[in-house]
Symmetry: D2
Subunit: 391 residues, 4 copies
């Protein structure tokens, strides 16, 4: 049977309905808040999620058998608005955390944490990144430690930052070193730490270029943070492997969502240049504008192809380490270029709040850094190529 790129009808239908919902319900709210979830509060989350539930679109990745290829179609449509993923409860970091809990959580952990998360009753965060000299691009530098507590549990000490969504999260998934030293490539364990644990403190909101991830980017301190034995998610000392379970798919769902924003930026810009005159013709007929239009098309199509390849591999149960790195690196840079060109095409209007392109530019910039900076992915890609070359 030949290669078949025909989208699965159920996924295609879900994507179409998501697209309509985003345009009709989500975008008006997003525009009212200038695209900043930092300005919107809990009531907006509730409002949007209720609407998604009413529309039968809430948490589309849960319980419908939607594989990664199907998610690619749906998440891209959700990502057409900065507020879309939150509305559907498929925003980072919750979406990745759900995936992880589903894959490696115990029955009890899934009941206690996954169920309410999937229902939108609570939010969560993933506490891995540390300020220098801790775990940044290089996870092995992990310095947060967990030692055995007096009565069978664990005591966590350390500092985490850029913990997305931490403010208001019901629990954190915290990576801590249970053996070895900073620099070692294993010895990490994942713990669930509940928000009311007095040993986990939110120190500050980090002011960042982007503002559309709900709950902000926070700095957390763990000081003598006692957790019970069953707070371990997965196996002791297997935290990095667990993170990998989360990272491959999470990398792709990020790409899907941001590809949605790239398409939105493209559409805004095309509408603008198609309508406006200058230098004696429609802007859309000027060669340099046409070049930007075409380059946007090419970037979007190429990113979509790479995402699809990686998703297909993930759906086969493969690690897809190379193809997700390739897709992530290209997409993060392509999305950035598309938004940048779209803004340029709109001229002064593009840098104004009258369109959301400046906001999009701020939101997509960090994606070239988080989930692995482009440089780290290129390093990893090259290592694999040379290794496979058998030399």
């Amino acid at each position: 049977m030949p290669i078949d790129l025909t989208p699965e009808p159920e996924a295609a239908e879900l994507a179409r309905r998501t697209a309509a919902f985003v345009r009709e319900v989500v975008i008006p709210v997003e525009e009212e808040y200038g695209g900043s979830l930092a300005r919107a509060g809990e009531e907006i989350r509730t409002h949007l999620q209720s609407a998604a539930k009413d529309a039968g679109l809430f948490a589309p990745h849960v319980g419908r058998g939607l594989d990664m290829r199907g998610q690619a179609a749906v998440f891209e449509e959700a990502g057409y608005s900065l507020f879309g993923p939150l509305a559907l409860n498929i925003a980072a970091p919750d979406e990745g955390n759900m995936h992880l809990l589903e894959r490696i959580g115990t029955l009890e952990q899934r009941d206690r944490y996954l169920r309410p998360l999937a229902a939108g009753e609570v939010r969560s965060c993933f506490a891995m990144t540390e300020p220098a000299p801790g775990a940044g691009s290089d996870p092995a530098a992990l310095r947060t430690k967990a030692r055995r507590g007096p009565d069978g549990g664990w005591v966590i000490d350390g500092r985490k930052w850029f913990i997305t969504g931490a403010d208001g999260a019901a629990f954190a998934l915290c990576m801590a070193r249970t053996s070895g030293e900073p620099g070692d490539r294993d010895g990490a364990t994942l713990f669930v730490v509940e928000a009311d644990n007095p040993g986990m403190k939110l120190i500050r909101h980090i002011d960042t270029l982007d503002e559309s991830l709900f709950g902000g980017h926070c700095e957390l301190v763990f000081e003598g943070c006692v957790v019970p034995e069953d707070a371990v998610l997965g196996e002791v000392d297997q935290g990095f492997a667990a993170a990998q379970v989360r990272l491959g798919p999470a990398r792709m769902t990020h790409c899907m969502r941001w590809l949605g924003i790239a398409r939105r930026a493209r559409d805004i810009a095309v509408a603008h240049v198609a309508a406006r005159e200058g230098f004696g013709s429609r802007l859309a007929e000027l060669g340099m504008v046409q070049q930007m239009i075409a380059d946007n098309e090419i970037d979007i199509a190429a990113a979509r192809g790479l995402i699809l390849q990686a998703c297909w591999e993930l759906d086969q149960g493969r690690s897809a380490a190379q193809s997700t790195s390739i897709a992530k690196t290209f997409t993060a840079e392509a999305v950035w270029r598309v938004v940048d060109r779209a803004l340029q095409m709109c001229g002064a209007l593009g840098v104004s709040g009258d369109v959301l392109l400046g906001r999009f530019l701020r939101e997509v910039r960090p994606f070239r850094i988080y989930d692995g900076p482009s440089e780290t992915h290129r390093w990893a890609i090259a290592k694999r190529v040379v290794r496979e070359a058998g030399t």
Copy 2:
């Protein structure tokens, strides 16, 4: 049924056997001639094509039901050597001409021209491009004219250049204007002109940067060139539409073949940097080299994804005008970047004839121009986007 990227087993097997054949039989010959078919002669063509016949790999696109997706796998492997497409009889322009004759030729034309062409008994050329101010990037500028002859046939007058493979071709497919004026977007007709027609003269071989298309790039003059009525291929005045039949798929088979060369360049460079030391480490471990390795991977993967998308659309019977333009533009530029980086990674060795990278650089450069320059494709892509935006 979900999207499926699993290659069809038959095509995959054919690709594997093609790969082995190219490495074992074709590359030694290619290297002996420094990658220049201009230096090799008819006996090399015969030798390679015999070997391909013996290996059961000759003309894989004929009579095996290989669709475009299957061709993508096989042609990329054939393209791994500059001499591979000729060996398999899938080189430009013959491969595209076979496709065209099969699609729009009469029974008689197919018997007279397609059969020996597919068998490798003869070669052909496609005479469309004209020197300024005639048909170049803009086919509508066509100036070669065909007027009704005295006894029912046609008389062609005009000048063509960059006619690939013209020297030694048994016949030319010649585009001439049968109605309208230069600048009109219709009124062209395709004619088959046989090599012994005294009205068609080969004026010169054009010295070009590339040298790996057999039969060279030639300049032809048509002077009072009389052809019979049944020399018309397709319909009178429908030549541009006929060319479109050829162009979409031909654009993609070009991409497949050149993607093969990109992979070859990549492999040469990776082997080099994996083996060589410098600045206190293996070159392959230097960050700037790793960046080039990774960017090559990304470019190759993205090009392959875009080609696959376009091929799938063509196989659905769609025009695929947008997706083939996108795939062609990206691939032509990506292949160029890959070869350029590979050469850079090899340093002085890279510009020497001791490896074929300098040759590859020369061969792939024109692909950003022929089959539509990148600028023309971008213009067309943008026009379609704006049109579809409904404005």
Copy 3:
């Protein structure tokens, strides 16, 4: 006498003192306000300008015989902080307005408007850009009209936007059409409109990506705005020529200031990668980081060379249209690349408010659009090249 790049001692000394002042006095204030002048108020302006007066650095471009080459050195140092140009009273749009008033103002206009402006007693704005379909990248589209008033003066009607610094400005220099129709390349006149004129209304602050130009980017409406005859700055119908007097030098002073920010971004990033470890070495020793460091050096050096060339031509009294377009286009894009790379080098820290790189990215982005988008400059550059080629 050979070409001499030795900086003039007086300018060099002034640049050195400016650099020290910016580091010691200005940067602490800038960092306190996160680099946003939108968050700082009039008292900050007063404070900084007083400090600059005390340091003998206020309005260095006035009355010291500092030519454009000298300004290049001093303004770059002032631009090392987003708040530096305001402190020295050499920020846009006042600095360009001073230049214009000095060159084409009458004695009376210079006394009434230039003197207090140069003293920092008042601010001003330049009201040229209009919302579509008015004057944007293409000034000839100018729609704001001025007709003869009942008693010898003029009556202005129209709408302007992106009028930098308008809020709080003591007067606006307003471009209005006194003859011809939108699309005509002449017929414009410059008027001085004082802030208390009831016919000029500030409609809104436009929310923009950048926030470091004092007084914001505003939208103004002129409705039956009556001005006296002596409100004409320069000659009637010669407004575009007058704007040119302002534009060439203003283009360069923009470049100088933004080059300062590029250097600041570079310094922040170099300090970061020199201090931080990762992947088993200092970040500064990783090849991909070294590539970014080097590309920043190259971009900064090339921009400085182009600015110097243009300044030297301006100082010769030449129009320098081509060299200022080249310098502006390259510098705007180079500065953007430098800030973007610097941010990337700092990773997550780079997108946080803990360093000002995200702020810088927002501030420099619009410079690829204002003072002529890169596309408009490229169009103009190409036109001149083709014209000079005599064809």
Copy 4:
């Protein structure tokens, strides 16, 4: 005194006369040989050099007090043709060798080697680069050894490749290790080896992408090559320092010459697009073409500015290591981009031998590798930046 970019009248006049000579005398010969000096022989060199002597333009860098800034103007004009530098006797490697001999040669060495070289009576080569694992981008890897000979002289053993101009050279300047081991950053010595020395053998001409350096790129073997004590150029063990004397200025003279070719490519392309029609207008009026025209202008202007900066530093007697690395890296890449765009602007004509753009592309490609690959320069630039940052 302010910075002054006015060219020195004598240098400007020499540049003007050189430009005229190149257009009238040199280009016709260059075009006849398709730009390939590999196809031209000694009689062409003699013919062109005689003509240059007659025109009073021969060896302009000798005996006229032309500093580097002056050379920049003259060499760029000479470089406007691939054959220009040979005609004026300022081609690589002779020009750099003359500079080196003048700076560090003994009186006797200057009389014996420099005098006839400057007169065009003989040619020379510089034998430094070795095949892997010897000295390539990293000179410290030097493996060719010189040991003390039986009677006071030296015996050289080793292998060199890419030795430009070796075939027909009267002598080679050969770098050999007199102490230490491969990898050590000192211990090298420069020797003059005369062509008739039986211990120095020309093994082969290396087939390379470029063909316009007279005498080709050769591989040499030194086997028991005995040279007398006074064959040492400069000091024993100080060879790398001596090479530095040569490298800085040689790097810049390369840039000057290749900038000439970039301008030539630009001129050919502008003339083409100004004359040719397509898509309903002159090609020169299409936006994407205008973008290429403008980017060429920008690249050429920026390269010229960086070269000037480096030359001025060299003329001050400074090492100029950073500024020559910056200028070399940018110019090599800019020249490549300019030629590539020029070729693209000419379409099919551009890849044909009917214009020399394909030839230029082949000639300029290696410049991104020789005289230090771009990657090596970037590495060195970054090291210096970090070092100067004091961290």
